[in-house]
Symmetry: C2
């Protein structure tokens, strides 16, 4: 519980750092040729592009600095260290970091669509291995109209991993597709993040406390850095966020979804598995 | 042992992919304004800059695809899964991925030196947590002239982590500093990588087989992608590698050094710790 208070303090600091860095680094982006012109405005001034990389980096650094704190208690007696939870967090960070890189490369180089489809799937691979090792529940709940034919749940096996790999591609592009209106991409991400945080807080007292604490550790700094970005991207936009932000946001949501929902599905559909493991 | 054969096959494929991608992506970099002019040549043609990001990405993707194979045996019975080794690999990849991002951002944006000093240290943080949890040997061997005063070994405690954090900064800048002569940065990296691989192979029969296998899993794909880069960066250079390559190389060497040497130091200086853990 106290780790959530610490991450809130970290996130408040991260908000102010992001808010402070964005205006400072604007010229760096414009000088590098990373700028656009707002087509819906009369003024034709240069607006820096791909500023999502600033909020993304602050977001990652915040979680990096938070690692020794969240695992602090376990560092005293390293024999009890929860290697699997640590690997989960590392896999999540690795996937997000890959998308930050891919997004920034896309903003700078204008990558072709085949790389954009392939790379998020590859970036989610470490996460899928973590999922396989820690949960490996590939059972899906069948929608009501189809239950007559298929039963209430079906184990789709390997296809579940294909689905999760594609979830990463879907999430990243789902946010990207809203580009064009000042603040819309960032605004919807803030709303999604807030709804996840509210859900996590409501579920904190439940049996999946660990999963929702994990989710909060990622979503709170994400929300803080995104709010700072929204302040500058709000109409009239002083910065553009670029594909970088969309990719990072999409992957962050995908990562949290895969890891948190898996805790839930594990507890509901494969309790026998847990008993077997314990 | 068979994992080494697999990684060699993967690496040969990675070599050809990198070799094939570099000429294809050259125009993308020049169009994005990422190019330089070779000051020591008469021809003033535009030479693409920051191509290290191509070899770096292929290197990372190769290891990503290799993860399910190297941990394949353990995936059959997930209860025996070596979470600590998996976390080591993830932390190593995370640090390398961060440096790939930082290097590319530096090439595009020309970051100020304070970010260049701060960010590699932060990027090595997950690795230091892994080191703390799995090894935590902070004893150094004292150089012979000083042994009279300090004894043969000294436990420097927290300072050891400061030293390792700075090792990441040192390694990245040590390679960067050789810029200016066609093929020199990549050439020396190839020689360093080869010497590490030869050392690993010689030590494969020894008691630290696991550590050296880990090192080979990282160094072989690194060498393959770097050789492909060297082919294009060799005099007269058709591509420049940028800070991206230097940062990735430096971090790769630092990561391998920290994780492999730590196995050795653990076995030599703190065997009591292992006994206690077993």
């Amino acid at each position: 519980m106290w780790t959530i208070i610490v991450i809130i303090i970290f996130s408040v600091i991260a908000y102010f750092i992001t808010d402070n860095l964005i205006p400072k680094l604007k010229d760096l982006f414009i000088n590098a040729g990373l700028y656009g012109v707002d087509l819906c405005k009369i003024s034709k001034e240069k607006i820096p592009e791909a500023i999502g990389v600033v909020s993304g980096c602050v977001f990652l650094v915040t979680i990096f600095l938070f690692i020794p704190i969240v695992f602090g208690n376990n560092l005293i007696d390293t024999r009890l260290f929860p290697h699997n939870e640590f690997a989960e967090l590392l896999a999540a960070l690795l996937s997000i970091c890959c998308m930050l890189l891919l997004g920034f490369a896309d903003d700078v180089l204008d990558l072709r669509w085949k790389y954009k489809l392939l790379l998020p799937t590859v970036a989610s691979l470490p996460l899928l291995v973590v999922y396989y090792v820690n949960f490996n529940s590939t059972t899906i709940i069948v929608p009501v109209p189809l239950r007559h034919f298929l039963g209430s749940s079906v184990n789709i096996g390997f296809l579940y991993y294909v689905y999760m790999g594609m979830l990463a591609v879907f999430c990243t592009n789902a946010i990207n597709i809203l580009a064009g209106i000042n603040g819309l991409e960032v605004g919807q991400s803030v709303i999604i993040a807030m709804s996840i945080i509210i859900f996590d807080i409501l579920e904190l007292g439940g049996e999946q406390q660990k999963a929702h604490t994990f989710s909060l550790h990622i979503m709170i700094p994400y929300l803080a850095t995104t709010l700072a970005l929204l302040k500058h991207n709000w109409y009239p936009s002083k910065v553009f966020i670029g594909d970088t932000f969309c990719y990072v946001s999409g992957m962050t949501f995908a990562v949290v979804a895969i890891l948190v929902i898996s805790y839930h599905s594990m507890s509901k559909t494969s309790s026998s598995q847990i008993l077997c493991r314990d």
